[in-house]
């Protein structure tokens, strides 16, 4: 039992100690190398900043005659050639008007603001894990936020007017009959590695990337099925041929990220499919290190740095780097934001209301709430046809549907369920969209009127038990289907149930998993259900929700609502290329939907954000936010 400490033990002991000491010493050695590296890096940075300053001075000097004051340039263009912007039209088809785009500019110029300073980092905390940021493979909202910063599109929606605004496109020609689109690229546009953006890149993006079946870009591919062909006309001009004429063709085509052919053609489709961050574009930001063999690991922070070689003169983002963190737990997210670990979060609706009641909240934080083109809406859909093709529900009668809308106090619903965040929806168009008719109001909450309408439709309490019956004596009873989703779903269910009870309607609640929700509505196996649509453009093609063609084949018209007027309006609207005319058609359509109520429109979902007060130039736009225009007044040591 009693072991003495012998020679063998001594040797072992010494060996172990020696290994330990060597290990620690090697760590120190490594750290010394690290520190040395840091000093070198700092020097390189300094040198680079200086070189860049000199380069930009040189550029400015070279550009001087061109960017003189507008009045001057106008005057001089009459005399001197070459001073005016290059408006040559040899690329265009004759006799078709050309939509020339103004030079790229800030929507709200941060440099003109009092505390402006360049540099610093901006951190956003995401609530869900972003799976990947490879263009077109990323399908979540987070991926889109990153891609908007890293990849420029041909054109985007103007944040203030929602009109299309050329980014990489200097001009375009859209056929009056809508069958083709010719796009002219800007001369100076380059990718973040300095190589120019050419027509070849555009064709590659569409034909060899998005429309390539081997690449898992199915979600985008299915929206671009109207593209018949993409052709190179010359180095800076491409032409799209459309196989279908739709009002949305122009926006949907121009709104795609243009990818560098010389980068993406290096990879096989399977490498692209499995990548997390094969990400390069012509945007304001880029990945700090673009190393295909060591890609970003979802769950880690994603860091973008400013693209110092951004091609558009004078519109460099003031922010030097963007960091995106992920904290899935909502309480932890708010605590992290408060601790200063992040500059922006999307709070939950109750958090948004509760946090603002704290003293000094407004001093340190901005609480933003606004509607924009991406605001979706939630609704209750009523089964207008036969459930599962077998049984007619009470909702086939439009008077019943109107009554259902009127017996729901949607104002109160929003206040009680979503802490008052949101407003009552009235049509499928976002209130910010020009398609929305400001004069039209949603149906009021009016229990008496609802009862009257129900009575008119034959639903009366015939046996005095408080429940309405039809003429045949069947009680008014329906099943309300919701997707599992915690607290809020329970509250919606209870609210609807109680509201129905007041009008003498029995409502049974069925809560099912999201995973089976699509199967359920594809089989039309419901009486009423609630859902929300989100949108990604000022006007979307709503035929897939309301056109009677979308009833068959598991289409999105799951309430099986069919209306000749609406069908005709939608068909006409989708082919009308003139914006003003089309808007009028959409307004007419909204009126039909208002009268028919296939949906009870419940709530327009606004965007809500908390942003730290020490971030400058935070503007809420009709397109959302433009983080590349932010700046940090308090940021120290500007680097660029």
């Amino acid at each position: 039992m009693d072991n003495r400490f012998g020679l063998k033990d001594l040797v072992l002991f010494v060996l172990v100690v020696a290994i330990g000491v060597t290990l620690v010493a090697s760590m120190f050695q490594k750290d010394r190398m690290w520190q040395q590296l840091r000093r070198i890096e700092a020097k390189v940075d300094e040198t680079r900043t200086r070189v860049e300053a000199i380069a930009s001075d040189a550029k400015r000097a070279a550009n001087q005659p061109r960017v003189a004051s507008p009045a001057l340039s106008e005057g001089s263009s009459a005399g001197a050639t070459g001073a005016a912007p290059d408006r040559a039209t040899e690329w265009a088809r004759p006799d078709v008007p050309i939509a020339w785009q103004p030079p790229l500019a800030f929507s709200t110029d941060p440099t003109s603001q009092p505390e402006f300073r360049a540099g610093g980092e901006f951190t956003e905390i995401w609530e869900g894990k972003c799976a990947r940021v490879t263009p077109y493979l990323s399908t979540d909202v987070y991926g889109r936020r990153v891609l908007d910063l890293v990849c420029d599109q041909l054109a985007v929606f103007d944040p203030k007017t929602l009109a299309l605004k050329g980014v990489l496109a200097e001009a375009w020609q859209y056929a009056p009959d809508g069958t083709w689109l010719r796009v002219r690229l800007r001369k100076d546009a380059t990718f973040s590695d300095g190589k120019p953006v050419t027509a070849d890149d555009v064709v590659f993006t569409f034909k060899d990337y998005i429309l390539n079946e081997l690449i898992e870009a199915e979600s985008v591919r299915s929206t671009l099925d109207m593209i018949g062909d993409v052709k190179v006309i010359d180095d800076r001009t491409v032409e799209f041929q459309f196989s279908k004429v739709l009002f949305s063709n122009l926006a949907v085509t121009l709104n795609n990220y243009i990818l560098p052919k010389h980068f993406y053609s290096k990879f096989e489709p399977s490498q692209i499919n499995q990548s997390t961050s094969l990400l390069m574009g012509a945007g304001e930001f880029r990945l700090a290190a673009l190393d295909p063999s060591r890609q970003w690991n979802p769950g880690d922070d994603l860091v973008l740095v400013r693209n110092e070689q951004y091609w558009a003169p004078g519109v460099h983002s003031p922010i030097a780097s963007m960091r995106f963190k992920t904290i899935p737990d909502e309480r932890a997210r708010l605590v992290a934001y408060r601790n200063g670990d992040g500059d922006m979060i999307t709070p939950t609706a109750p958090q948004f209301v509760v946090a603002q009641q704290e003293p000094n909240w407004d001093k340190e934080n901005r609480s933003l709430k606004w509607f924009n083109m991406r605001s979706g809406y939630s609704f209750i859909a009523w089964q207008c046809g036969k459930r599962k093709g077998e049984r007619l529900t009470p909702f086939h009668d439009k008077r019943v549907r109107q009554a259902m809308t009127m017996l729901l106090n949607r104002e109160q619903m929003i206040n009680e369920i979503w802490s008052g965040v949101g407003s009552v929806a009235k049509s499928p168009f976002s209130p910010e969209s020009p398609a929305s008719d400001a004069a039209k109001k949603p149906w009021p909450y009016d229990l008496a009127k609802a009862r009257a309408l129900l009575a008119e439709a034959g639903w009366k309490d015939r046996d005095g038990d408080g429940v309405l019956e039809s003429e045949q004596g069947d009680p008014f009873e329906f099943e309300f289907t919701l997707a599992q989703g915690g607290d809020i779903v329970d509250r919606i269910a209870n609210f609807v149930k109680n509201s129905c009870l007041k009008a003498g309607i029995r409502c049974k609640i069925r809560i099912i998993d999201w995973a089976v929700y699509t199967d359920m509505y594809k089989a039309r196996d419901f009486d009423a259900l609630t859902m929300a649509w989100q949108s990604s453009a000022p006007e979307s093609d709503i035929r897939q929700m309301f056109h009677s063609d979308a009833i068959k084949g598991g289409g999105q018209n799951f309430m099986q609502w069919s209306n000749k007027d609406a069908d005709e309006l939608m068909e006409r609207g989708c082919k009308t290329l003139d914006t003003a005319q089309r808007m009028q058609i959409w307004k007419d359509l909204a009126a039909v939907l208002h009268e028919e109520q296939p949906y009870s429109f419940i709530r327009v979902v606004p965007w809500i954000r908390f942003v730290k007060s020490d971030v400058g130039n935070v503007q809420t736009y009709k397109t959302g936010l433009e983080p590349w225009e932010f700046f940090r007044p308090a940021a120290l040591a500007p680097t660029g």
Binding site: M1, F28, D31, W34, Q35, R39, T123, K129, A131, L137, N212, L214, E218, R221, S222, T223, S270, Q271, N273, Q274, T276, N297, P298, G299, D301, R323, I327, D329, R331, A332, R333, V335, A336, R338, N339, D341, A483, G485, D513, W514, A515, V516, Y517, T518, D519, K522, A523, M531, A532, W533, Q534, S535, S536, S540, Q544, M545, K552, G553, G554, G555
Partner: protein, 516 residues
């Protein structure tokens, strides 16, 4: 002993089969079935994208096949012994399997194949084996040709599939008008076999559309067959290296198990596990020694002072800690200990500070004299709260177990003998009783540690730790079959091995146990 180990190892195979079959069936029986989460993962859906995307995924992952077929396919991939034509591996490391054949168009009873289609089908089956020899210099070209043919094959297949789906939609319309019931599957697709049993009603309102689609399908089928034929020949020419080692060429080969691609993330499951596992192991490697260092000595002391204040106090405290749910304490820890409004002593989430990548490994002073935590210390600081949550519930069981084992041995004869012959109390406690009480404590470790590899879902979620628990939770919410199976398969393997190890250790530690 060797025979025993071999027997146990062989017994593991049916056990693993049972476990995976159970998990597979649970996934299949869950509402929506396998891969249901692919199509809808949030409360808001962008409607325009759903239908086609779903058809694409179904075809790609074979989600429409019977569950047992899918399970069989999964087993074939996971098994080290492979049957049939082996996969080929591209230079980029991608597995290319033999191209899948094209199914015949639906409803042959109504719309018989055209002669051209029959000719194309026969050609596609006969063509096999007619393969030109390709030498090394041509290999490069063969690869390029394969890629071109593959693109062609995939797109023609997709076009054919889309038309078939459209025909199904029209037929559902038709069936409703003709009052044929039961034509919809639970996924809302058309059941062609039901329709085929009824006579075709050529006066139906959408008959023209159905007929037109059938003609289009015939043409698309011919095109798909032709491209399949080409790709099949190109594949048989072996443009890439064959995977595994062939035992009987083209019949049996041995290859590495393939855990598949997680379809919610589009990345190989093995890569995802490899990035999540170290995090979980790190947390547990730190948590376990802490549990042992506190619980075992307390158990020993409690046994030695049975019924005294220490026994009661430590027992009470540990049980009290054990009964606090982590869901609650974790949230409190974040809300109070991590929030700057209150204590603010700990970070809220993640494993590293934003700046940690630019720091040295060890704590150091920067050139300007400011202290810098360093990467290592920063990591420890970040995992303080998660580790604390992992640890505090673990004391009770281990301390109680140690105490019980100690008490058992205290009352044993050999202890009385030792005391009687004059060995002092401390020596008896440490040398006799404690040593003999360690056996169960060791086996607790061997059996519990592998289980923790599955990660603690609650803790990892509250503290935003990207470990195995988070991965599994995501996989389950997305119904990501590949990832869930890869996860459970791995954990099951480790568990079974650990159980075997525990039994072997028993024999090694206790001479009374023998497996001969």
């Amino acid at each position: 002993m060797l025979a025993y180990v071999v027997r146990r190892l062989l017994l593991m195979i049916p056990t693993l089969l049972g476990i995976t079959l159970l998990v597979f069936m649970l996934l299949a029986l869950a509402p929506g079935g396998i891969g249901a989460g692919l199509t809808a993962s949030s409360g808001q859906v962008d409607g325009s994208k759903l239908a086609l995307q779903q058809a694409y995924l179904e075809d790609r992952y074979g989600l429409k096949d019977p569950v047992l077929v899918q399970y069989g396919r999964w087993l074939a991939r996971i098994a080290p012994i492979k049957f049939g034509t082996p996969d080929q591996i591209t230079l980029a490391g991608e597995h290319k399997s033999k191209p899948r054949a094209i199914d015949a168009p639906p409803l042959p009873e109504w719309f018989p194949l055209s002669d051209a289609a029959i000719a194309a089908r026969d050609a596609a089956t006969l063509k096999r084996g007619v393969v030109a020899a390709i030498n090394e210099t041509e290999r490069e070209d063969a690869q390029r040709a394969y890629r071109r043919l593959e693109t062609d094959y995939v797109s023609s297949r997709a076009a054919y599939r889309a038309l078939t789906k459209k025909l199904g939609d029209e037929l559902i319309e038709y069936a409703i008008a003709q009052q044929i019931s039961g034509v919809r599957t639970s996924h809302g697709d058309c059941r062609f076999d039901v329709i085929a049993t009824t006579p075709a009603k050529r006066d139906a309102s959408n008959w023209a559309a159905i007929e037109a689609l059938a003609t289009q399908i015939d043409a698309a089928y011919i095109r798909a067959l032709k491209s399949y034929q080409l790709i099949d020949v190109a594949f048989a020419a072996k443009p890439f290296r064959e995977a595994g080692v062939a035992i009987v060429p083209a019949v049996i080969s041995i290859g590495s198990p393939d855990l598949g691609v997680a379809f919610s993330k589009g990345r190989p499951s093995s890569v995802l596990i490899a990035s999540a596992l170290p995090v979980t192991i790190l947390l547990n490697v730190i948590a376990f020694p802490i549990i042992y260092l506190i619980a075992v000595p307390s158990g020993v002391l409690a046994a030695a002072r049975r019924g005294k204040w220490f026994d009661i106090l430590s027992g009470g405290l540990f049980v009290a800690l054990w009964s606090i749910p982590v869901v609650w304490s974790g949230v409190l820890a974040v809300g109070y200990l991590a929030s700057n409004q209150y204590v603010g002593a700990f970070p809220v989430a993640g494993l590293h500070d934003s700046l940690a990548d630019s720091w040295t490994f060890l704590p150091s002073f920067r050139d300007d004299g400011a202290f810098e935590r360093g990467y290592l210390l920063d990591l420890f600081w970040h995992i303080c709260l998660p580790v604390a949550c992992l640890v505090y519930t673990g004391f009770a069981i281990l301390a109680k177990q140690t105490r019980a084992a100690m008490l058992d041995n205290y009352s044993a004869d050999y202890v009385r003998t030792a005391r009687a012959k004059g060995v002092d109390r401390g020596t008896v406690a440490v040398h006799h009783v404690f040593r003999n009480s360690l056996l169960p404590v060791i086996t607790v470790f061997v059996t519990v540690f592998p289980a923790t590899l599955a990660g603690s879902i609650v803790i990892e979620r509250i503290f935003s730790v990207p470990g195995m628990g988070s991965l599994l939770l995501e996989a389950i919410t997305n119904r990501d079959r590949e990832l869930v199976l890869a996860n459970t398969f791995m954990v099951a393997c480790v568990n079974l091995l650990a159980l075997l190890l525990a039994d072997i250790l028993y024999a090694a530690a206790d001479p009374r146990v023998s497996y001969e």
